[in-house]
Subunit: 221 residues, 8 copies
């Protein structure tokens, strides 16, 4: 009953193969909470259907081992990718507040690479040592979009929004403990930002931030 | 002690007159919780300092009356503006789920107009009657950015994110009652969206959504 | 002191043996947080008392092994059942948004099977690829009730409620991470739905959704 | 650009005139947060378009006065209706825990009347005096669906779910103060119910409960 | 600097040895989050100081093994006690909604036994099968106080409060999953109870409920 | 259909006239959210039925005026009572942390008076000036039960629970602002108390606290 | 029964007259939620008892009018004070993020003045225009303590904590709307701060911040 | 691009080496959520750069083993320190409510030692046995600052704030279970304190409390 032009029924999923045509981005696979078999089945179908970029996020070591058997992959952090799109000339800064944000930052990085863009990592510029951020501003002057990650009180994207003119995507992370409440505090902080034009994705959603950036870059080419 | 090149001390505020240079947008005045006198003082200083676009949001009727004495203004909903920037050729769709979202939609609309852009209102296309949204898609094909507002369960931006390729800014609104929890439900829903690349601003923050759009349009010119 | 006609005292429980007479459904056993011995005692008593359908949900592998010794069982996902009721001619669609909802979907499926109904699984039709859902509508036209599961932002049941006339039972699932808040976001979203007539059960409560469906089917025969 | 067969553009709204065809129920008007003019415009268009039952909920006295000028209406509590559907032979019990739930109960009542069904009010049977509920059970034996409202701790629907076999729609109300938290406590209580097959709509959503009941009754005829 | 008449400094704690004199109950040891060594040190000091009843709650198997070396103990569930007070003639009903509440119920039971009272367990009388509770009422007619435990929606104590005249102590338990929110739902439900005179202790606090009962029994003798 | 021996149908309510027989306390009327007419109807029926003590809480001035026409009443704060029970010899201390708790304290006081007991007010002994509480301890040595009210951080009942042996009923009040969160902070604080045997009723529920006290006093006579 | 050396019983309160001796600060009167009469009674008693500084916060215009009749007062914002302590040579910076924080800032200011200290207001230096804060740093180099107020996302105190060495007291304010959640977002943000040594008082608690500053200044003299 | 005078780029971090100059305290390493390699790299760079006191908090045993290879360290609880500052003559009381607060108390203790101050531990003085606290007051009369830790209902700092004149830093801890909600209850309680001048840091943030104390001590020398 499924339209073969738009969907592909694998053993366990109904893959949205027309997504790239509609919204400029292919479906990705969130591996968390899926069995190794489910992940392998879905990725294999995507590769078979000729999807132009295949992205699997939040993979466990066991899943990674099995997925790599399908076809050699790129791995950054806990993200695996196959068949990257041709390189664009777009740069995206990925600015994080501290080392604990790296797992989320690398998810954004891997996703952007698969879409052909150039991620520019700017690490460890939390606002407690503000000069680090001010010193680092020239590092991402050439970036068309800025992704800013922070856990704990999540001030970094707010401060950045007062300093740079680029589109800014905030990502609250679950870094921290206690009153960080697993990222909820950073999320609320970013959503209530006093600085104009900060738009935010969900907690730890590095993939979503990269997609928001891609939507913008799409308009530039 | 304040650098006259970047700040302007009015009777009640320290106005950030270099903001347009830094981030491409002037400071705006949130009138809610300010006295009539404070609002008038700040707007007057902005006009005196030659700020290229002056925006005052969430004005009460009393404040409006006083502010209009300073200099004739444009009024859309509860937003007043003076000195609009020259027109760009950029369109921004403002898609709302229902009539109750209009106060927030008009705040975005007024802000975009002051910045020189063309807002494209697409009203009352909530997902309970999905064909309304599907029918309306051509109305905003030419828009470079889509702002999507919804209260209650806030599904509209998620559904849109699966249908269009443009950058998408979600705005949760406080429309609804009971389980809408003054917009908190819509906010959570948009932040947890299963659709890729939806970025979100705070509850009822029409101004912030317009600023996020402006950051993107800035990159296009 | 317990009335033998309505209760049965096992070693650890006071089993409600008149429940089928009162409300058309037998008591089921929620195995989570119970010891293997408690589960076995309760199921054994239910089988001994001649309960016409016996259902044990959220069983661990250890519990399953012991329970299967009592009498051969049907197993779907983490639900075990014994002594199914005679088949009715009622179909119930179980529509889920993604593969991660399957553990909850199978709990509903197993419960319906034990009550004699025919579950119609409609998998992986999340609203990010809306055509999947639109294409799949004919698959469940014959179903008297629709159970709709979704995690993350939980929009699927709301969208469905604008498309089909059947009774609709929403089930928020804990699929997702971060801002999904273990299903709380999906729950709030479904409860604040802008679409008319969506009724909702608790997070991950596949069993409860099947019971809500059964109450409706009861009225049809 | 709107399909005239399915939508009707009034001055302020995009009315979903095909809703009855799709889901068996017409669009209704939530008047709260709308201006008197917006309400009048929408109701007038619905009447003009020949919608078979017109329902306006949460009307203020000012709105009511203006709406009644359009065409004489039925008024129950804060709900106005025009053009009722032909009577069915279906009864729906509306069971409430206390007098403070009446504003929500009457919203359900008015909606059911407009759809042609017979509401059976069962008032003031809160579980603190359990015999009131037990005594009242025969009052709604003939009802095909039971709507149960409660505020405060919201136990009534749970207790009912163990006593009757009918489909059961719970409605948490904002009755009570303090720890009732404007209905949130009753909502959580109903969603976590230990009794099987209770499905729940949003806080104070009498209209939604009536729609859920109507979906079920639709299957019976 | 510590007054030897009221405190006893062990290696790790400042034990409140005058507590029985002041409030009629000795200090107890919450073993959760303490090391084996800390627990042993504190219990040993209490035994040495001649405390008239020694109670250790939430013990792990490792802690239990070490504590039993100090002096043979009574063990009920995860509570260990030494040196019970002389028997009173007071009975306290411990009514629970289901088997999953037993770990909390046994904590109350062990504490009451150490204080010399007679616990009357009334198990598995959840309100989904109301007749179980009604049938069981005579079982605890002789009890001077009723402790009522429930997880999930926590209705049991509310229903009981409408049926019996005794002092009633509600204990929300973390039994259940999903919308039970680890006992928060039951807690809110009990605190917002529509039935008069239900007083409540914290989630899973069986020990606290027994102490509240003891304060009442103290007044009777 | 209502049993005349246990219920009384007034125009708007189903009054639980057997409540005193069952649980030793009559039904009371929560006037908040009820119309003047509903309040008058219910109180009149209670007086007609011969209820031995009639209590109406949270009355507005308009309601008070109308209710007083039925029969002269006692008024304390916002509570009206008629037909007090014969005096017992029981005293109940009502200890509050500050002047802002008085509206809740007087609700407890009025309820106890109607039941025949002697309230002992102990005002303004918040823990910020601990000696006030220590000095006041002799004032309520003769009280069989202690009701302790506090808003803000709600420490008073916890501190009291370490000082006195009587049964203790905590009442969180909505006194305070900001982080007091309308009593939620005090409620959580009291429920997590480190002191043994504190039992708690809902926010601002002075009536409920008095009923909890009455259940205890009932056992003493 | 009250010790005359430490308490003073007025008509409505038990005034803690030994507080200055114990903790170096007199009791203050929170007028919100008190009647005009209660406020006047308490302030009059404090003046009579010779309290060395009398402070009344959150006064309404009606209360102010009555209180001023007792004795001429100092008024700053909604705080009234009588009998200031002799001037110290201590300065306290009161740094706020925007004009909407002024009502809280003036409460701190008035309290410090009554205690003899010199408040140094530094207004409108929100982090969206960071140079305003950096430019203003010399304004409060001589302050021994810094009080930093912010609403919305509450980043200001965190950024300050990375720039200055002084003791820092954060005050979340309820400025903002929507996702500011009446100050809860700012509170969480400040408590989860990534910058070392920021200590925080409750939402809008300008009085408390001044008291925290006074405790520190007390150690300096 | 980084200014070598203020930052030091290690393999994984941008170390804020000018922090001591700016705010009087060096950067510390939060080891939780970092890999062993990241921790070792950061600590090694800090030691190489000559940072005058090096502090690593929340270390796992595996991290500790590797870090100790760099250079012999001081270990208190889960905090490691290298190169203590010269001793000051300042004492800081660390008052805790119970043995379960010790892991947080020792983090504060280790941090103060590294900064050259003298921590004064005052253990196990929870308010349930108030005399323990009253007896212990002389133990910390000589302390210039008081850090007060408590979990559960978190009353201890509030009670202390009414008894001592020193600056007071509250630390909510996650000690307790159930209604303690991992420290959230204690946090809210401390923030809503009725006692004047209590300032609070985040849940379990012993390090932050020590830094707040150090900021104060800095002003004294």
């Amino acid at each position: 009953m499924t339209d073969p032009a738009t969907n592909a029924l694998s053993a366990t999923a109904r893959i949205d193969i027309s997504r790239s045509t509609r919204i400029g981005m292919p479906e990705a696979v969130l591996c968390q909470h899926k069995t190794v078999g489910q992940c392998a089945d879905i990725v294999a179908t995507m590769l078979d259907q000729g999807q132009d970029a295949v992205i699997a996020t939040r993979i466990t070591p066991q899943q990674a081992q099995e997925l790599n058997k399908l076809q050699p992959s790129h791995v950054v952090g806990t993200t695996m990718t196959w068949r990257h799109r041709p390189a664009t000339n777009h740069r995206v800064a990925i600015v994080n507040a501290g080392t604990s944000d790296l797992p989320v930052a690398t998810e954004a990085q891997a996703t952007l690479l698969a879409m052909g863009h150039t991620p520019v990592p700017v690490n460890d510029v939390g606002v407690a040592g503000l000069h680090r951020l001010l010193d680092a501003l020239p590092e991402f002057e050439q970036s068309a979009v800025v992704i800013a990650l922070a856990g704990m009180e999540g001030s970094l994207p707010t401060v950045l929004a007062g300093l740079v003119a680029q589109p800014l995507v905030g990502v609250p992370t679950s870094a921290g403990y206690g009153t960080s409440f697993d990222g909820a505090t950073a999320l609320l902080s970013m959503m209530a930002s006093c600085a104009p034009g900060l738009a935010v994705v969900g907690i730890d959603n590095g993939y979503g931030a990269a997609c928001a950036a891609h939507r913008i870059l799409n308009q530039l080419s």
